[in-house]
Structure formats: C-alpha cells, structure tokens
C-alpha cells in the first residue's frame, strides 16, 4: 500500500487495526476525539468491538476486563482523561495485563486548554496512578512515527504483560501528514492461556486462572513488586530508543527534545548551522526507558558546553536530562505550556543567550 494523507488521530486508529487490535473502548475528549469517531465507523467494518464508555474511569476497567480475559485491546484519551484512567492503569500494571493507552496531550493542569502540550511527562513516566509501576512510554514526532509506534506497542505490551503508552502532543493527533502502514508491523496476539481468565473450556484446562492485584502478606507483595521491577529493568536493557541529530561535528550545545518540539529544534539546529554554529540533539523516542547513556555521552563531548531540555512543559523532562548528564555539564530548560508551540526563533534566542553567558 502506498502513502495516504491522514490526520494523526485517524491514522492512529487505523494503525491499531492494521496491527491486529480490533477492540477499542474510549470516552470522547478534545483533542483526540477523532480516534473514536473514526473507529466507531471503521471497527464494525472489520468485525471489531467499539464501545463508548460512560467515563474514562469506566473505560480503563473495560480495558482491564477485556485484557484480563485475553483480548488485544486499546484506548485513546487526552490529559484529563488519562488522569481518570490512572487508577485503572495502576491495577492493570499490578495484574500484569497487556494494553495500549494513547495520550494525545493537551495543556494542564485542571482543564488547562485544548491545544498541544507535553505537560504529562511526569504523569506518564513517573507514575500517575498509585504504587510502584512503570509504563513503557513512546513519544512519536510525526504521524508516520505515531503509526509505527502504535503498531509496535501491541507486541511490546504482550512481551512485558504491561501497558504501553504512546505519548503524543496535540499536534501529532491534529495534523495531517502522508503515512503508510507497514505490513511487517502486523502481529498475531500472543497465547495468553497461562494466565488469562478466558474460561477454562477455552484453554481445555481443569485449573482456573485468577487475575488479581491484592497481596495481603508482606512477603508476597514484596516478591510481586520485585517481579514487576525485573520487567522494568528488562525494558531498560532492551527497549531504549532514541535518535540523534547533528552530533558529528563540534557542537557547542546539546538540545534534548521529543515529539513535535524536536521537529522545531531540528529547524533551530539547521538555522544555527547556516550561521556557522553547531548545535547537537538527542531525541528520546522512548521516555521510559530513558536514553540516559546516549544523553550522557553526547553531553560529555569536549566541545559541548551545556545541555538544554526544550519541552512544552514547565520543566519536567529536564529532571531526567539532569540525572543523565550527572553534573558533567550545566543543564538548562526552555519551554512554553500555553498551547502555542515555541517557534524556532524563540528557541534560538534562548540558546543564543545561554551560549553568550
């Protein structure tokens, strides 16, 4: 199949179907309602399940129930909706059920706004819900990448029996770009007979399966958490993804940026290059696990005087950049969080100020 021009939200819905996921539960919220609108028409065509739940709280448990009985399932929402789903996400991680959650971020806190934002970095990467858990978080920078990350999210969720989150800013959902759906990213759902409550007859078993999250005995709960931690440690070993830009030359500053913001930063780097100034960039494609070593290595280069985290938030990822750089070089932050994406000129002004200081 060739390229088609699609809006990000619709492309994400189509990508899930092409990946082999035909079950979708959701609650409408701007700026991602087009996913539900698209799938309410498209899923019946392919024999799938579409249901609009009564709230994001309920939707997160529809996802839990469906996943726990062995189905491949996903939902999409935006920031305030993800807050409501965070209770369910905590339970789903504890119960070790695979699922895909897509957050097309809008400005916060509270109702915030409906324009693009990256202010849910902490929520996605550091928790959101209660307890010790992690999500595998991927951040697309284009509609094509949103498609590919959505398609790879399902087998990854099944590999780890853990939810995967696609964290896109509002622009990823709202803009139209040419996309194609790579056939090789389609996957068969894994066999879940070992744990899923899919009915004893389904798996021809005389013993029952139990999906639970309650461990009243301290030793058991600690052992359970160690088991979960081992999975998160494995993600750190096997799933870190990132991209670099202009790291070959003797760059004076290192930009760390993700999602739509990183595309603005590419223009910033190109503009500086035209003036004879080299700036490098590391773009994390996974936010958890975070490309700490890549950022450390890039910051360690002798020519690099400082690093700057450029993000559409009031400074969230910058904390992970600081942890990555380990005090080797100064780490700065620049960002806006009202819904308007910083322009290349605004970022250049900030970077120029830092280079002059």
């Amino acid at each position: 199949m060739g390229k088609v021009l699609m809006k990000g939200n619709e492309a994400i819905g189509e990508a899930a179907i092409r990946a082999g996921c035909l079950n979708y539960f959701a609650y409408p919220i701007t700026p991602q309602s087009e996913v539900a609108e698209y799938l309410s028409k498209r899923l019946p065509e392919v024999g799938g399940v579409f249901l609009q739940g009564e709230s994001e709280v309920a939707v997160s448990y529809m996802i839990f129930g469906a996943s726990a009985c062995g189905a491949r399932v996903f939902t999409t929402s935006s920031s305030p909706g993800i807050s409501l789903m965070s209770e369910g996400i905590s339970y789903i991680t504890a119960a070790q059920c695979p699922a895909v959650f897509i957050n097309i971020m809008r400005g916060g806190p509270g109702l915030g706004g409906i324009l693009p934002s990256q202010a849910d970095y902490f929520q996605s990467v550091k928790g959101g819900g209660h307890g010790d858990y992690r999500l595998l978080v991927m951040a697309p920078a284009s509609v094509q990448e949103a498609v590919e990350m959505t398609m790879t999210a399902f087998p990854l969720a099944e590999k780890y029996r853990n939810p995967v989150m696609i964290l896109g800013d509002g622009l990823i959902g709202q803009m139209m770009e040419p996309v194609e759906f790579p056939d090789h990213l389609k996957s068969e759902p894994s066999n879940k007979d070992g744990w899923a409550t899919n009915g004893m007859d389904t798996r021809r078993s005389s013993t029952r399966n139990l999906v639970r999250t309650l461990y009243l005995v301290p030793e058991e709960l600690n052992a359970h958490n160690l088991k979960l931690k081992a999975k998160y440690d494995r993600m750190i070993r096997e799933e870190i993804r990132w991209e670099t830009y202009n790291l070959d030359g003797d760059y004076r500053m290192l930009i760390v940026s993700y999602g739509t913001m990183s595309r603005v930063c590419r223009t910033v780097i190109d503009n500086f290059k035209a003036k004879g100034i080299e700036i490098g960039m590391v773009r994390p494609k996974t936010l958890f696990p975070f490309p700490k070593q890549a950022i450390y290595d890039a910051a360690a280069k002798a020519s690099c005087r400082a690093a700057i985290s450029v993000e559409m938030s009031m400074g969230q990822m910058v904390e992970d950049v600081e942890l990555s750089v380990k005090g080797l070089k100064p780490v700065h932050w620049y960002g806006k969080c009202g819904g308007d994406v910083p322009t290349p000129e605004e970022v250049m002004e900030e970077v120029s100020k830092l280079m002059a200081s």
Partner: protein, 259 residues
C-alpha cells in the same frame, strides 16, 4: 440410599474467612449451585469486588478477576464485549455497588450489558470496619454514624433495585433475602433466572440480596436475621422489580413476581 447433599463443583472445599452468621456463604453456595445446574463452570468468569467478598475467588473453582472498588461492572462490560460467549457475573456489596460504583452499575444496566450482578445489601461497609453505606438504615449506628444515620444530613437509604428498574432498557431486576429458607429458595430461583437471561443474551440482570452483618451490626447472628427482617425488608420490599417480558413491576404494591 446415596448422598443427597453435595458441595457444588463450582464451590471450593475450603474454610472461608467470613464471620459467624454472615450470609455471604449462603449467597456463594446459591451462585455455585446455579453454575453447576447450568453446566457453565468452564466458561464462567466471576468478578470480585472490594469489600468482604474481595477474596471470594478463593471459594469458587472457575476463572476470576479482582476489580478495583466499584469497577466490577466496567470490567464485566469489557469481557462481555470481546468474549460474548463467556458467562460473566459481578459479586458486589453495597458500598462497592451503591456508593463508589454507582456510575458503573447504572451505565452497564442502561447499555443492557449481558452480564449478571449479585448485589449483597447488608446496609454497612463490612471489610473496612462497619462504616455507613448509602444503604444504611435511618438511625442505624455505624462507625461513621455513631449517633445513628441522620437522614437530614445523609439522605435516605438508596434503593438500588427500584433505581435500576427505572431505566427504560429491558432488564431483569429482583430483590430477595437470605434470612430464612423460604427467601433463600426464592433467591436461588432468581439467580437461576438471572443467569438464564444472560445465557439467552436477553438482558442485563441484577439480583439484590438482603443480607446480614452480625459483626458490624453488633448483634448475634440470630438477632441480625431478625433485624434484617424487621428493619430492612419493610424498607426494601422483596420481589421482581423488572423483567424483560413484563417491564416494570411494583413489589411494594403486593404484586411480587411477574405472572
């Protein structure tokens, strides 16, 4: 002569954690008997609530999921939508269903989800230690209404069977009690009917069961049964509130079951 009274295959041969005089054990047995009679153990998935029955999966011998507080109907919805061939029931108490899970149960019922809810109404939070529930009776003392439930401040007890039967979507809604054999036999029939409606893909079904909590009521098991019959049943009339065939019924007016 052979053995006439057997433990249902769907019921595990273990000692439960329930207090003496608690009626959860009776409700468990009725559900297990119905599952055996319908021969559906191999395709049934139960959903445990948060409350005393959170561990109820230890007493059944088929697949089970454990929900968050109040969310069992949403989980049941998720299962039934992707696996309509499975038989799904939620087992919920009154704090779980009538307080924190009010939204999930109403919308599941209104969508006509084809699962069954067993609703244990004992007018109090059990597991958390006897706090006031939406179903707590006027002037009933609990650990959070130490001077008795003041209806001017906290409203009247919520009647879930009546409330759910007010929805326009066809459903099977019934209230029975676990206080004496006559009622228990009727409760068994109601549970059987509820699962049958599900098996026929007819409608959502909910069986409310007036139950006792001697521990948190501060009564002997015998006094608790008496209190449930004298205080609760007059306020929570027993009978069918709605059937898919007859629509809404009014047990309080004397017509207790659909003709």
């Amino acid at each position: 002569m052979g053995k006439a009274f057997h433990r249902p295959e769907a019921l595990a041969d273990v000692v439960t954690h329930y207090c003496p005089g608690c009626t959860h054990g009776v409700a468990h047995r009725l559900v297990a008997e119905v599952i055996d009679e319908l021969g559906i153990r191999g395709r049934t998935v139960g959903i445990a609530p948060v409350g005393c029955a959170v561990l109820c999966y230890n007493y059944f011998t088929f697949d089970f999921q454990e929900a968050a507080h109040g969310r069992a109907p949403a989980m049941a919805t998720g299962i039934k939508r992707v696996r309509p061939d499975l038989v799904v029931f939620t087992y919920q108490g009154d704090g779980d269903l009538a307080s924190i899970g009010m939204s999930e149960i109403i919308h599941s019922a209104n969508r006509g989800e084809k699962f069954t809810t067993i609703f244990i109404n004992n007018a109090v939070y059990g597991m958390t230690g006897g706090q006031m529930a939406p179903t707590t009776m006027p002037d009933q003392r609990t650990t959070t209404s130490p001077f008795g439930r003041k209806v001017l401040e906290t409203g009247m007890p919520v009647k879930m069977a009546e409330l759910l039967s007010a929805l326009e979507t066809p459903a099977y809604i019934v209230r029975e009690a676990l206080t004496k054999p006559k009622y228990i036999n009727r409760a068994k029939k109601a549970i059987h009917k509820a699962f049958s409606y599900q098996l026929n893909k007819t409608c959502f079904s909910l069986v409310e069961l007036i139950s006792t909590c001697p521990t948190n009521w501060g009564m002997t098991p015998g006094d608790a049964l008496k209190w449930a019959e004298e205080k609760m049943i007059p306020y929570y009339p027993l009978g069918e509130y709605k059937t898919p065939e007859a629509g809404r019924l009014n047990p309080a007016a004397g017509r207790k079951h659909a003709e």
